[in-house]
Symmetry: C2
Amino acid sequence: MIAAALALLAADALPGTPTAAEIMADAPEGAWVAPDPEDTLYVDVPSGRIVVVLVPEMAPRHVEQLRTLAREGYYEGLHFYRVIDGFVAQGGDESGEKDKGSAAQTLAAEFEVPMPAGLAFTPLGHADPYADESGFVAGQPAGRDPEGGTAWLAHCTGAFAFGRDEGRDTAATEFYVTLQPQRYLDRNLTVLGRVVLGMEHLQAMPRGALGTAGTIEDERRWTPIESVTVASDLPRKDRVPVEVMDTGSDTFRRLIEARAARADAFFYYRPDHVDLCQMPIPVRLTPAQDGE
Amino acid sequence: MIAAALALLAADALPGTPTAAEIMADAPEGAWVAPDPEDTLYVDVPSGRIVVVLVPEMAPRHVEQLRTLAREGYYEGLHFYRVIDGFVAQGGDESGEKDKGSAAQTLAAEFEVPMPAGLAFTPLGHADPYADESGFVAGQPAGRDPEGGTAWLAHCTGAFAFGRDEGRDTAATEFYVTLQPQRYLDRNLTVLGRVVLGMEHLQAMPRGALGTAGTIEDERRWTPIESVTVASDLPRKDRVPVEVMDTGSDTFRRLIEARAARADAFFYYRPDHVDLCQMPIPVRLTPAQDGE
């Protein structure tokens, strides 16, 4: 009797409209992409590994400098020293001393770039108050200005970006990861890519005191950066076998529709909308391949 | 020379438009509200205390049952057993066994309610694709339907809500807190309030395996709930002296404007928009008062 009553009270599924789970179960192998190891960065902290996928076409100078700094071991022994709940976790050299002996240069801003010819832009298809058009580029949330012809990576959760001082061309070594969407930062800082695995390590870092936006005062609460490594510098067997859904695939386009439609019977109110930063971009780990 | 060059490259501040920091520094004492201890819940986990402020007017039946369950010690020894990165942390009785000996009843849904006469609705003043109108009620983000006359608390980060099965009137004891905005859940579940302090404890909880949405398989990774307490049941000296900005205050209205304007010189691109879930609602701890 109870089961029957529940069934009567349940919302109706939308017939003929597949759910995200059904689309994922049907996804062909071709809908998944293994990021280029040269564009993949491992940030190791005591609790584990954070995997960042960079998009060099969207921030060529910053990505090149980041690879150089990683390869010279610049970040080893530095810290996440500015962590603000619901905002960002920022890492680098709080003292500013270490820049002197490194390849670090202040970089010309890459807040937005001419839309790279080699990359596809998959429109979200829903209005976005922070961009003329929003969508996805190379497995990452992005905005673009169709008139101006520029594009930029968006500050959804997990955006990996370079910090800067007040001047636009002052970024050099400091990076941050957004712990929540912070779209107002779009086109004000240079986003290089996004965290695809290990957000839980960033979310678990000790925060600064309530209401303070700067450095965590107690240095014992800083999270050490053990190393920052370009994946291609490791033997293949030591790399994380991560794959990201191709945001240009038919599967991903169907997932966007499913997220807006919410066809499953759980939903009573269907917004017919999905926000750029509430659209998950699926990530998976593949079993290690023999003979590679 | 370097400083001069930086100054030339910096964006211009908008003259005459105060920044959020300036407004906060000027905020009168009357812009702060101490939540009613009868509407304040402490969820204690091993790493510390999570402070939840409930809005009984927005979910009267659910808040009443939650207080009853807290007072009978229902949640003691239960767990956060379903924690999904970027989605929710869910707590309660995974086995479903404990309900039998408790006051728990399945509750008629309170997804949205007639706008309570005693509460003010402060409009955000910016378009929101998830609500006819969005804004703030009793220090919490909310939506409303001016034609239908209903309102609801919104699923921004830290929303405290009851889980349910497929049927709309099936919520009883399980609760969840959103770790990111999940606005598509608005009007599909009953939100009771929000976390005002201690989100870092929820964000640090061990997650389930990548790609799984259910219970964390390894029970050793569940986070124990040590206790759930209504603040008014503790002596005044043991309560957390928290205050939340009055979202009906002139100070808060000015903060909304400042967040949309981004007048400080750091910003080169100003979106003239603020998203409901990207509008912080300030919280502070007051020094304990003598003689109270």
